[in-house]
Subunit: 419 residues, 2 copies
């Protein structure tokens, strides 16, 4: 079967999605992952934990699509009925799966927790389904087949679902349907807006389309992912990479990495490659920059630690910002940001220090320093450098942008890239 | 028509939702808003900008539901075909709406942008539909009626859609169907798993069902939200609150707040109410605890700052953990956690200090101290207390759980709650 013509459908099961307690992020994630394989999701439906609704929707999807992913409704509580309902629909029955029971038992022993009947019930699985091991939870995935069509049932918890897709489902799809798969790469950019980038690469975009490649803009706060796809598979890897090299060389101030790498991972690798160390002195981000750098394991190789100088007292006491500078220029100023970086460099004995001070909002703005005003300073072996930013009104996004712009500012200093 | 029996459906139109470029947040928002009116969304479907798919889905929904909200596909570009398709489906025709044309023209003049033919086309609207003014964009909303059922078509841009729902759609629904809303509250719990909670409150659950209330478990990493709903509206507010008081009193160690409040917000309010200050000394969470506390504005009223002592050198230099303690017990130990908290209390001059040290993984585990081992210490005006935790294998979740358990540990100490 030519997979590029394969129609996939997604069924999300759970009252919480329809009453709006939970935003359904699984559908978008699945759309992206399946898209990489050349499988297009043509429809997605969210339904309640109601037997009739599940039966009716599954039946309709098996008529309309070739491959169906069902997420949710596999928990141990009574309101979860997906497993029982699918078992009935596919005319099979639940039997104890010893291997799964052992894994679930082990799962609880490792955590020193007692196991409940409801957990043991999770080892009762459909006889005629292929059971997919869930190493991150107690609900197994199930692979059903009917008239050459495949329905996969997975837990709705994103990290459990994602691991099962990557480790169990996609490899089997590849094997079952002989997928060639598209070849794609994603270029990560920080520090430029979607429409501005679109304008700068208009001509480049025309050329990639002429060469039959597909481009997707995947913007998020402070970042853009550009995904370039060839339907001809790896034989066009060279072409895709040449086009991205062109952007990397043309826009080194924005293009920091590839394929889901975070700006913090990219800077971390850069520091490791130089055997250089990093410290942070944070005010408005309150530790968010440091926590972003340690999100990836191995960060202890370069990250020393940091100071969270939220109060002015601690800006002086911990980072040795002089009282007079604080009084004269105010906590959110170039001078204070620089003194924070210099003070941090000596206290944390790191080669590089990031210091940030700003008004995240919504309170605290003024005529002269509105909400969104941020000063970022970087202390390097060569000196200290500061930059002024004016972000928006939204506290959360102001904090997130400060973290991203600070990391990219450091990256540009290490690589000596001018804007 | 009794609105409590009214079934609503949501149809989201747009390729970008299915290829995963955009996460569909409209469905969750609509589910919450309609739920407040006692309108339950029983199904939601996302489809491509394809005529046949739109016709087929709209037709199915008009058979299955009483009230349908369609979002997306109303832009000026060629790929947007929702308006033309619905106009055809409802057997009417597009006519120029002078009022809308004037508004769109004005919209562009205000922004000093030239108007394109495609924008003028947006003033061509179905003759037999009620036109809903969009004051935030150029795409109007459309209210169609057929056999006593209502279908509303709205733009997909969240803030345009939300304004149209609040200003145009909900008032008309109220008038048309005479709505009485559901009453619901959400109880927030930390420190217990879904299945364990379900077992503890089995009997309580039986009673709330007997009283005709609805319960939803909404678990996420380290947290559970319990949502209790009455279809009889605010007249059962007392009943709902009495049932939750019972859980709050029965499980004060887990039940920390209501309605989407985070554990960090709850602890922050608690500290403010006592005019007490907080500091943090973080190793494995690398600043994540502090950044969670400052996520809400107003945190400067209690949060002083923190130390991120990622390296042992800094545990000693910044938090004054003695070298001998580090050598004798290792960085991840009760003794080091306690010395971090004590040192932090004096350096940060805060009333309460949270200190955490652990092995987030995936590297760094040992037989004696496996990945997921965490020590949390709390320094209070009365002394210092430490607790041992063993979480899982996943670095990100180990960090997240450490943050949540640390906040709740502090909360229990402030309120003198025993486990």
């Amino acid at each position: 079967m030519q997979l590029k013509f394969m129609k996939a459908g997604i069924i999300s099961i759970g009252d919480e999605l329809l009453i709006g307690q939970t935003v359904n992020t699984n559908t978008a994630w699945l759309g992206q992952e399946l898209g990489k394989f050349g499988i297009s999701v043509f429809k997605s439906t969210t339904i309640r934990d109601v037997k009739e609704d599940i039966l009716q929707t599954v039946d309709a999807y098996l008529n309309e699509t070739d491959f169906i992913i069902v997420t949710g409704g596999l928990g141990p509580t009574n309101d979860d009925i997906t497993k029982e309902t699918l078992t009935e629909y596919f005319g099979t029955s639940l039997v104890l799966n010893q291997q799964v029971l052992d894994r679930v038992t082990d799962f609880f022993q490792k955590r020193g927790k007692e196991m409940l009947d409801s957990n043991i019930q999770q080892a009762m699985l459909p006889k005629d389904a292929l059971i997919l091991d869930n190493n991150h939870g107690t609900a197994s995935g199930m692979w059903f087949e009917k008239n050459g069509k495949v329905l996969v049932s997975l837990p709705g918890v994103p990290y459990e679902m994602e691991a099962l897709i990557q480790e169990e489902v996609l490899p089997r799809i590849k094997a079952t349907f002989g997928v060639r798969g598209n070849y794609y790469q994603t270029l990560m950019l920080q520090g430029i807006g979607e429409s501005f980038l679109a304008e700068k690469i208009e001509d480049w975009e025309k050329r990639i389309y002429r060469d039959g490649l597909h481009l997707a803009y995947l913007p998020s706060t402070g970042l853009i992912k550009l995904r370039l796809t060839s339907e001809k598979g790896t034989k066009e890897a060279g072409l895709v990479n040449t086009y991205f090299d062109e952007l990397r060389n043309g826009f080194p101030q924005y293009a920091y990495g590839m394929n889901e790498e975070t700006i913090f991972e990219a800077v971390g690798e850069l520091l490791k490659s130089k055997n250089a160390t990093l410290g942070t002195v944070e005010s408005c981000t309150g530790g968010g920059i440091a926590s972003s750098f340690i999100a990836k394991s191995g960060s202890s190789a370069f990250f020393q630690g940091g100071l969270i100088t939220y109060s002015n007292v601690l800006k002086n006491k911990l980072a040795h910002v002089s009282i007079s500078t604080l009084e004269k220029y105010g906590a959110v100023s170039e001078e204070v940001a620089k003194e924070m970086a210099i003070g941090g460099k000596e206290v944390l004995s790191a080669d590089y220090v990031i210091a940030v001070t700003g008004i995240a909002g919504p309170e605290g703005g003024s005529e002269e320093k509105p909400v969104g005003t941020v000063w970022i300073a970087i202390a390097t072996p060569d000196g200290v450098f500061a930059e002024h930013f004016l972000f928006g009104e939204h506290r959360g996004r102001n904090i997130e942008k400060t973290e991203l712009y600070a990391a990219n500012f450091l990256r540009k200093k290490i690589l000596e890239i001018e804007d």
